[in-house]
Amino acid sequence: MSDGGAFVRFEDVGFSYGDGPEVLRDINLTLEPGTFHFLTGTSGAGKTSLLRLMYLAERPRRGAIRLFGRDTASLSRMEAPVLRRRVGVVFQDFRLLPHLSAFDNVALPLRVASVGETEIRQHVTELLAWVGLADAMDARPQTLSGGEQQRLAIARAVVARPDLLVADEPTGNVDDHNAMRMMRLFQNAHHYGATVVVATHNAQLVARYNYPQLHLESGRLSVLPVALPADPFPPKARAAGQGALPLGQP
C-alpha cells in the first residue's frame, strides 16, 4: 500500500519491549527526503528504539509507520528486506562481523542484494578509500582502532547508497577530531542525497552543526527549531546510474 508521498512518517506510534512499559509514546514524525536531523535526548529517552523502528528492527505496538511510501505493517517477509536495503544503519556498537575482513564487511549489503562481484570490488574499494581505510582492506575489524571501526561501519551503511541513513550515537566514544571526521562523512552522504538521522547526546556536536533536532524526552518526541542554516551544500536528488558515493577527503 503506498500513500505516494511520505518518506518517513510515524503516526501516533507507541512502542514497548515485550509487556514492559511504553518507551515511545504518541510519536508523530515526518521526514522529508534529503533532510538532515539530529535525534537528541538523554540516555534511556528512546533514541535507539526510535531508530530501530526506522530501520525495521522492531514493529510498533500501536500507530503506523510509513517508509518510502509503504505501510510497514503490511510488508511481507519478502518485501521487508528490500525496504531494509534502502536504509543504511550505523549501529551504536558497530556490529561489524569479526570473522570477515574490512572489505567483506563493507561488501555485505551489496552481497545480500546479489550485486555482481566486479561491481562490489569497485564500489567497496572506492568507499574504503573514501573513509580513509584503503590500506586496511584485509584487516579484521578487531585489529582496527575505535575510530577506524566507526568509519568502517559508516562505509558499510552507505555502500548500497541508501535513501535513509541512520546512525546511533556514532560519535559516542571518539575524540573531537574523529567526531568531526565522521560528521563530514555523514554530510557527504547527505550532500549525495541521503536523508540522515544521527542520534547523539553530544550537545556540543549538535550546537556546532545546527541541524534541526528531533528531541526525545521520556518517550515523547518534539521538533526543536534550527537556529542557523547549517548545511553549506543543499541536498541533491540522486541520479539514477551513478556510481558509489562521491569521493572526498573525510
Partner: protein, 299 residues
C-alpha cells in the same frame, strides 16, 4: 555445490563438528539394515525359487532289503509319471538321501545303521500347478503311506518371515532417519544460537531469509556429505568382512551366499546410495526448516 562463501563463520562452529560422525554412523546403520534386508530377500527368493515347481514324495522306510526298496521307489516313480502335469520324477538313491542327512544325523546314516525313507523329486511342467490329490491317488497302490509335499507351508513361512524382516528393517531405517534429522536440527539450532548476532546483522542489512537459510543448508549438506562418505567406507569394510565370512560357510547347512564381487558391490551400493542420499536429503530439509522457523521469529 557446498564450498561457497559463507558470511556466517559456520566452519568454525564447534557444535557442528560431531555432525559428520553422527551422520556417518546413521548412514552406515541405515545402509547395513537395508543391505541385510535386501540380502535376506534375495536368499528367501532363492530358497523358495529352488523348491517351487517341485514336489517331494517321501516313502517311509519299510522292513525290506535294498533291492526291494529300490523296486518300490521305481514303481512309485512310474505311477507319478502318469499324473497330468508331471514332467519328470527323480528317485534319489539311498546313498544320496544319507548324504543329505549326514549334517544332522552324522555318518551313521550313511553307514546304513538307520532306516531311511526313500525320496522322489517330482518336477512339474512349466506353467502347471502340481496336482497333489492326483499324485496321492496314483500312489495308493504302490505306496499308500507316502507323504506328498509341495513345500507350500515352508515357502509361506519363509515368505512371511522375509516380509516381517523387511518391515522391521523399514521401521529401523525410519528410526535412524528420524534420529539423523533430530541431530541435524539440534546442530543447526546450536549454530543459530552461536551466530545469532551475525544473523541479525545480515537480517537488518536486508538479507532475505533464503540468503541465510542457504548458508546453513549448504554447510549442513557439506557436513552430511562428509559423513555419508565415511559411512560408505565403513559399509564397504563390513561387506568385505562378510564376503569372506560367507565364503567359509558350510554349504550343506545353509544355502550358499555364492555372490560374485559385483553382486556384493551391488548389494552394498544400492543401500549405501539410498542411505547416503537419504541422509543428505534429510539433513538439507531439517536445516532448512529449522532456520526458517528461527528466522520467522525475527521481525
Amino acid at each position: 555445490m557446498f564450498r561457497r562463501r559463507y558470511d556466517l563463520p559456520l566452519g568454525r562452529d564447534g557444535s557442528a563438528r560431531l555432525v559428520p560422525w553422527i551422520v556417518a554412523l546413521m548412514s552406515y546403520l541405515a545402509a547395513l539394515t537395508l543391505a541385510g534386508a535386501l540380502a535376506l530377500g534375495v536368499l528367501a527368493w532363492r530358497w523358495t525359487e529352488g523348491v517351487s515347481g517341485a514336489v517331494s514324495v517321501l516313502l517311509p522306510p519299510a522292513a525290506e532289503d535294498a533291492d526291494a526298496g529300490k523296486a518300490r521307489a521305481e514303481k512309485a516313480r512310474a505311477a507319478l509319471l502318469g499324473v497330468a502335469g508331471v514332467g519328470a520324477v527323480e528317485a534319489l538313491e539311498a546313498a544320496d538321501v544319507a548324504r543329505r542327512l549326514e549334517p544332522w544325523l552324522g555318518s551313521g546314516a550313511a553307514a546304513g545303521d538307520l532306516p531311511l525313507p526313500r525320496l522322489l523329486i517330482v518336477r512339474i511342467k512349466p506353467g502347471q500347478r502340481p496336482d497333489l490329490a492326483a499324485m496321492r491317488a496314483a500312489l495308493t497302490e504302490t505306496a499308500p503311506s507316502a507323504v506328498v509335499d509341495d513345500h507350500g507351508v515352508w515357502r509361506g513361512e519363509i515368505a512371511r518371515l522375509a516380509a516381517r524382516v523387511m518391515a522391521l528393517a523399514g521401521f529401523a531405517v525410519l528410526l535412524i532417519a528420524l534420529t539423523g534429522a533430530v541431530v541435524v536440527v539440534f546442530a543447526v539450532r546450536a549454530g543459530l544460537a552461536v551466530h545469532h548476532e551475525t544473523i541479525e546483522v545480515l537480517h537488518l542489512i536486508g538479507a532475505h531469509d533464503d540468503y541465510i537459510t542457504r548458508q546453513f543448508r549448504a554447510h549442513t549438506l557439506w557436513l552430511s556429505f562428509l559423513g555419508g562418505l565415511i559411512g560408505l567406507v565403513l559399509l564397504a569394510v563390513t561387506e568385505a568382512f562378510l564376503w569372506q565370512a560367507a565364503a567359509n560357510l558350510d554349504p550343506a547347512l545353509l544355502p550358499r551366499l555364492d555372490l560374485g564381487a559385483w553382486q556384493w558391490a551391488a548389494l552394498g551400493a544400492l543401500p549405501g546410495a539410498a542411505a547416503f542420499l537419504g541422509m543428505m536429503a534429510i539433513a538439507s530439509a531439517a536445516a532448512k526448516r529449522t532456520v526458517r522457523r528461527a528466522l520467522a521469529r525475527l521481525v
